[in-house]
């Protein structure tokens, strides 16, 4: 810091003394600055005590401060992260596997003429094998993309457009992720017909309704495996069996929330195409994968045209480090799945029993047999967003991260048949590999306190306590 001060002050005084010299003598690259421009600046009397530095005029109002980083480490705290459906932290083991490819081994994996390319390509192929092994596929079936959103877009639009001469119908579910629904909306603008299947009140798709919805001109059925808001697990094996009965209909599943968390086998469930995300399984953001079955072959129209990488389905240079990170994340997930799942289940039960034992009128949205790491609770007579505002030490979400900016009630919960007020008062608890018991206890303690407090302020709650049926009130009368 002293040296920085010295140079800036020196430059300043030098400019003041000889303004002409500074303008006239233009330094080139090799010309050293002359000794006459050197200047000795007195050390400020208070320099030993950096904390009490007196500001001077030439500091232009800028303050000398300890770095923001150091300061925040001693004073502030970070909220407890309980939003694992939005994203997960990168596992340190994943980062360790990635770092060589962000530093020394920077080669383009598609370079075939030198060792830099070979080592990158080999690393990617190993990563591909790990991803494939996690879902019971072959390495060649895996296409790396930029994430599950790209995979979903590529698959839904790709399959639909490739078969558009004969098949003009797509089936999906109302509770799908936005990127699936929006891809379908785009296709409907292009003249495709889309069936949005409703779900039952527990979030599961009705299999008979699905069977009835499949038509001879259906190209694709797209049903997500684990719902991102409610954690509902769709019975993929049964769905696969139904779709398999109809020849030429492909089954796509958005497994972004499922891969690495629950066991999946693409052959067992007859899944033809699948979307995987890297950052939901403790990998890096910006990478995902698509499983595209080769036998029987699923053909699709690529969105990106170019150098023909990834079987021509997704052109563009692969991000070696990200793909390696995703592969390592998949490898670790496969190894630790049983352990993680048991632990997450235990923590989830701890959370639920803690909340249920201390707060009334809490409703769990979605099938209770869903993925335990995603618990969606509605706290009646409390507004979800105000609950979130009050819980500033806990990072939670009321629903999907994509819609967390809007105050609209979640369309997923509405599709489950939740009343508008219950959809407004929902919170999603995402428990993951690195969540601890102490964190869950802290969260329970705070939720209980804040819900109690907000309800004490609420006139609705008072009415409920007095036994007035809220639904019988006609609010619009004046």
């Amino acid at each position: 810091m002293l040296s920085r001060l010295g140079t800036s002050a020196a430059a300043n005084t030098a400019l003041k003394r000889s303004p002409k010299l500074a303008v006239a003598v233009r330094r080139t690259f090799v010309q050293p600055s002359g000794a006459e421009r050197a200047n000795v600046v007195d050390v400020p009397p208070s320099f030993k005590n950096v904390g009490h530095f007196t500001p001077r005029a030439d500091m232009l109002g800028f303050k000398l401060d300890a770095s923001v980083h150091e300061k925040s480490a001693t004073q502030k705290t970070r909220p407890i992260y309980l939003d694992m459906q939005a994203t997960t932290p990168v596992d340190p083991r994943v980062l360790d596997a990635m770092l060589p490819y962000l530093t020394d081994q920077f080669g383009n994996p598609h370079s075939r003429t030198h060792a830099y390319g070979w080592e990158a390509e080999q690393a990617i192929e190993v990563a591909r094998q790990h991803v494939a092994a996690l879902i019971g596929a072959e390495a060649k079936d895996i296409v790396f993309t930029s994430g599950a959103t790209e995979s979903n877009n590529m698959i839904i639009k790709g399959v639909a457009r490739f078969n558009q001469d004969k098949k003009r119908h797509i089936i999906t579910v109302q509770t799908e992720h936005k990127c699936v629904l929006d891809s379908c909306r785009k296709l409907s603008e292009e003249g495709f017909e889309i069936t949005y299947l409703p779900v039952e009140s527990n979030g599961l798709v009705n299999l008979e309704a699905l069977d009835a919805a499949i038509r001879p001109d259906t190209a694709l059925v797209s049903i997500m495996l684990v719902n991102n808001e409610t954690g509902v697990i769709q019975p993929m094996k049964d769905i696969g069996a139904i779709v398999r009965k109809h020849r030429g209909v492909y089954l796509h599943t958005d497994a972004a929330q499922a891969v690495g968390k629950i066991p999946i086998d693409v052959n067992e469930a007859n899944i033809d195409v699948m979307s995987i995300s890297g950052h939901k399984l403790y990998g890096p953001k910006g990478v995902g994968a698509a499983y595209v079955r080769r036998r029987p072959r699923v053909r699709l129209d690529p969105i990106l045209s170019g150098g023909g990488q990834e079987r021509g389905l997704r052109s563009g240079t692969l991000p070696t480090a990200l793909a390696v990170g995703m592969g390592e994340a998949a490898r670790i997930s496969k190894l630790e799945m049983a352990r993680d799942h048991a632990r997450i289940k235990q923590l989830s039960e701890r959370l639920l029993s803690g909340i249920h034992s201390q707060v009334d009128h809490v409703i769990r949205n979605g099938d209770p047999n869903g993925y335990p790491g995603c618990v969606n609770l509605s706290f009646a007579y409390v507004e979800g967003e105000s609950l979130l505002m009050a819980l500033k030490d806990i990072a939670l979400s009321s629903g999907s991260a994509c819609t967390s900016a809007s105050l609209e009630p979640s369309y997923v919960l509405r599709a489950l048949g939740a009343a508008e007020d219950m959809a407004h008062s929902s919170l999603r608890f995402g428990i993951g590999r690195f969540t601890t018991e102490a964190e869950v206890d802290f969260v329970v303690q705070n939720i209980v306190r804040v819900v109690q407090r907000l309800r004490d302020m609420s006139p609705l709650w008072e009415m409920v306590q007095e036994g007035i049926d809220i639904n019988s009130i006609n609010w619009s009368q004046h």
Partner: protein
């Protein structure tokens, strides 16, 4: 066929791994790796199949090196602590 590592070697590695896990700055990673190390080594110390033990030992040596590197990176970019880590934690919320 390698010879089985001695109990002392295992205990030494166990201690070193615990130390590496403890040096993580992030609360969540530190706790996870501590717990995982305990679980792994307890089952390893109870294991009788010498082949399995030597294989697991070899793997654990590699993991220790990885853990040490990761802990350094984690220390370099550590953020502020979580509220539950701060002594006499201020209650969050309203």
């Amino acid at each position: 066929m390698s010879t089985q590592p001695t109990r002392n070697a295992l205990l030494g590695l166990y201690g070193a791994t615990l130390r590496a896990a403890r040096s993580f700055k992030s609360y969540n990673f530190r706790n996870y790796f501590l717990q995982r190390t305990r679980d792994n080594f307890r089952s390893l110390l109870a294991e009788t199949d010498s082949d399995k033990v030597s294989r697991a030992y070899k793997q654990a040596v590699g993991e220790l090196a990885m853990l040490k590197r990761s802990a350094i990176v984690n220390q370099l970019y550590a953020g502020p602590p979580l509220p539950i880590e701060v002594h006499g934690a201020v209650k969050g919320g309203v």
